[in-house]
């Protein structure tokens, strides 16, 4: 059981945002004045903190104001089939995952391919907390305060070429760390893909934490993606490889059941799953007697993302 104080405190609550900014300005000013060596200007650089709690996380202005789900709900009810197919399996089994040391292989149509350590990957990025709606294809949803940065900022550093029309992501596939991959439930490793425009979209996040803390193993430590207008399975947990390609890449659930899980998998109340309705969803944590809520087109992010799909038949391209 989680203690009360584990749940609710965000670093941004401990230190008011104004103090962050002041401190930063102070340091920048000090650097500019030559009072401090210039290396100190990298105070914003993201690292995985040893004590498990991020510092200097700014709050993104676009966050939803809906009630945020508890840390308990977010970390004990999710799908991560590499640790078992039950919703509580990831929380029970993911302790065997070793998120450090970690490295990510970058391959395909990019100028700077190669293997990068997690530290290399995070270094230049400032972390922010973004509260997004999270809609599972199974018709339940949560509201989650993710910690991360725009994925596009990371992908740009690898200098994708004009051939890079799509990006594919791979999850770790290691029997020693993941009991679930002994069973051929999916064609391991888990893989997902986005068009380059989707991957570069400012809402698409590279995530390293939630609730101001380092991402728990069961939620995809140490690095995952979040694409808030798509069903949850379109994001990739515990990423070990990023591949730029000119062809629409293979994606795990599409490989398992193409007629049920399309490449796009945008949240869409008008296109039902063949076996259940997507018109409404159960918002977890709202109580036993709370009604389902209507599902919103693009999970409520239509204004930001509809342009990506102009002229595309969203019924055919589900």
């Amino acid at each position: 059981m989680f203690k009360r104080w584990d749940k609710d405190i965000k670093p941004s609550e401990i230190t008011p945002e104004a103090s962050f900014l002041n401190r930063r300005q102070l340091l920048q000013g000090a650097v500019a004045a030559g009072l401090l060596p210039s290396i100190m200007s990298s105070v914003e650089a993201a690292t995985i903190p040893a004590n498990g709690t991020f510092e200097g996380v700014t709050k993104w202005s676009g966050s939803t104001t809906e009630k945020v789900n508890s840390f308990q709900d977010i970390t004990t009810y999710n799908n991560y089939y590499e640790f078992g197919t039950g919703k509580d399996d990831p929380a029970a089994n993911a302790h065997t995952l070793k998120p450090s040391p970690w490295s990510v292989q970058v391959t395909g149509a990019a100028g700077k391919t190669g293997t990068y350590t997690l530290e290399d990957i995070l270094k230049p990025h400032a972390l922010e907390e973004r509260i997004y709606r999270h809609r599972c294809v199974e018709a339940w949803s949560m509201v989650v305060p993710w910690v991360g940065f725009p994925l596009g900022d990371l992908l740009k550093r690898f200098e994708p070429t004009s051939q890079a029309k799509y990006v594919q992501f791979f999850t770790l596939n290691d029997r020693a760390q993941m009991p679930g991959v002994r069973y051929p439930v999916l064609d391991w490793p888990y893989r997902e893909g986005l068009t380059i425009a989707e991957a570069m979209h400012p809402l698409t996040m590279a995530v390293v934490g939630l609730y101001g803390k380092v991402l728990p193993n069961q939620n995809g430590a140490p690095l995952r993606t979040i694409i808030p207008w798509k069903y949850g399975f379109k994001s990739t947990k515990s990423i070990v490889r990023i591949h730029f390609t000119d062809k629409q890449p293979e994606t795990s659930w599409n490989m398992a059941a193409a007629q049920e899980y399309g490449f796009y998998s945008n949240v869409n109340p008008n296109v039902d799953h063949p076996r259940w309705s997507q018109a409404s969803e159960r918002r977890l944590g709202t109580g036993l007697f709370a009604p389902r809520i209507p599902t919103q087109m693009f999970n409520g992010y239509t204004d930001q993302v509809a342009d990506l799909y102009r002229g595309l038949d969203l019924v055919k391209n589900y």
């Binding site: 009810y77 259940w276 018109a279 159960r282």
Partner: protein, 235 residues
């Protein structure tokens, strides 16, 4: 007089069968345990699986009785069957009332929801094969539950046994409902296990019938009366 062991066993069955419900209520009230993040799904799953388990147990009574020769086991069958029905009704009510919110328009007002639960229910039953199949199974159980009394058993005579063979259809529908509900063809260990169990339970009966039929033919060839099955309503 009902033998003492039957009374004791029946009390045990009542206690065992009510345990899942009591645990759900304690968890829901926050007294003991927890329904988890998706409370409605937990209730739905516990009731559905308990109902299916009890249905399988009901179907196991006759093969166990035949192989052990403890004929009085049949006295427990109705109780197990009725508890199966009870949990499957709760399973349906959880889906209709809590998940879809059939009563929500009364509580929150029809316009607050943006979706009509009653229309969704009808659409689900008509269009979602796994719900159609599950609903059909539950509907077919109703006449069996109603006619489970001694009175009906006596009044219907041979037709009672025939009617109650519907339980095979219900069990098959229940397992199909479970297969079609899982997210994809990837998560099938449990439905596969139920299918296997059901196949064994039905296979045992077919084998029993063919053995009996052969015995009847052999007896007829030998010019003697075929042995009557020792019991009627043999399923």
């Amino acid at each position: 007089m009902t033998p003492r062991w039957v009374v004791v066993t029946k009390v045990g069955i009542w206690a065992a069968c009510l345990t899942p419900l009591v645990l759900l209520i304690l968890a829901g009230a926050g007294v003991y345990g927890s329904l988890g993040a998706n409370d409605v799904e937990t209730i739905l799953n516990v009731c559905g699986k308990t109902g299916l388990n009890l249905l399988m147990l009901t179907l196991s009574v006759t093969p166990i009785r035949r192989s052990t020769g403890i004929n009085r086991l049949v006295l427990l069958r109705r109780l197990l069957g009725l508890f199966a029905f009870f949990y499957l009704v709760l399973h349906f009510l959880t889906y209709a009332l809590l998940d879809l919110g059939l009563l929500y328009p009364l509580i929150y007002g029809a316009t607050a929801l943006g979706i009509s639960p009653s229309q969704q229910l009808l659409a689900d039953i008509a269009e979602r094969p796994f719900i159609t199949v599950g609903f059909l199974g539950l509907v077919l159980l109703i006449p069996l539950a109603v006619t489970s009394t001694h009175g009906f058993q006596r009044r219907l005579g041979r037709r009672w046994a025939k009617l109650h063979r519907l339980v095979y259809v219900v069990a098959v529908l229940g397992v199909v409902h479970y297969w079609w509900q899982v997210k994809s063809d990837t998560d099938v260990a449990e439905p596969a296990l139920y299918s296997l169990l059901l196949a064994v339970l039905l296979g045992v009966r077919l084998h029993h019938r063919s053995v009996n039929a052969k015995a009847a033919v052999a007896a007829a060839n030998a010019g003697v009366q075929p042995p009557q099955p020792r019991e009627k309503a043999s399923h």
